[in-house]
Symmetry: C2
Subunit: 160 residues, 2 copies
DNA sequence: TATTGTTATACTCTATAACTATA
DNA sequence: TATAGTTATAGAGTATAACAATA
């Protein structure tokens, strides 16, 4: 059982695997804590996490068809109906018929929706957990995470 | 409107806030992708994500009461019943009466459970998304995430 | 009285399949 | 035929409240 390449099976690779596994589990731990904070803040706005995320993915300046929102949320079209129902009931979004293709319903963010969406954005950007990092560490972290997130999406990941 | 302290409200603080918000959103993006991979791998073992996580939190060498598992999972006791039901049906965990306190049921990981838990651990440590990082970058990321995760838990976060 | 595990129940989130009205 | 939105439905996950057995 000769080891083909130290880079793939040697002690260095084992060290790296341990390190990477550790990093992954820690990232998920941190993400879970962040999510917890976000959910609480978003609940203060009277929104469930999924509804808030739907509002966040909408572009106030460029109305989208529901199909595109489903794509951005990476969920099935059928779910978007219920999410938009709740946004519409809250007066944050309007469904408008699209004259060009009468099958489509265009999702328009209202004035209220615009304001709430801004607050949702702040909630989803809350960085209290990063308060312990120096400016340099924060910049380094951002760069590393950025590097990972390129091409690291579940399915297709366009529309950035 | 004099600005009290540049460190808190000046342009540097604004830069940092932008940077931190960016980092947070990227972390959540990455975590979502990692979760997707984990869920797929864990499904290959015939487990749902929550059941897999429950098995993962159990200590094969130190049986726990259900109460403690709920605490580790940070969920209500009532949920643990259904999760352990499924683990028991799959033959991965056994409920044993505790002679010392007959209210309690001790959760014992079986031989099969031990083996499956090992595979779950590997699934939850899968680091393919970090493959693009150099060894140095990986170590830096691990350290930074580690620093954040200390004291960065939703509620209490002992029993590490 | 307080606690452990359980049950009953409800809500959120998500997926699949079938329907409708368009194209 | 294919697509956009919807509806119906089901399952997973999680929470609250109430209960029985035990402390």
């Amino acid at each position: 059982m000769a080891q083909p390449s130290p880079a793939r099976t040697g002690p260095a690779a084992a060290d790296r695997a341990r390190l990477a596994g550790d990093a992954v589990r820690r990232i998920m731990h941190v993400a879970s804590a962040i999510r917890h904070h976000q959910d609480v803040e978003v609940a203060d706005l009277g929104l469930t996490p999924a509804v808030a995320r739907a509002l966040h993915e909408l572009d106030p300046d460029r109305p989208l068809p529901a199909r595109d929102l489903a794509e951005r949320l990476r969920c099935d079209r059928s779910n978007v109906t219920a999410l938009v129902d709740r946004l519409e009931q809250a007066g944050l979004v309007e469904r408008r018929p699209d004259p060009a293709d009468r099958r489509q319903r265009t999702l328009v963010v209202t004035g209220d929706g615009r304001r709430v969406r801004e607050r949702v954005h702040r909630a989803l950007s809350d960085s209290r957990l990063l308060a312990g990092l120096t400016d340099t560490e924060l910049a380094t972290l951002r760069d590393l995470v950025w590097k990972i997130s390129d091409g690291g999406c579940p399915e297709r990941c366009g529309a950035e």
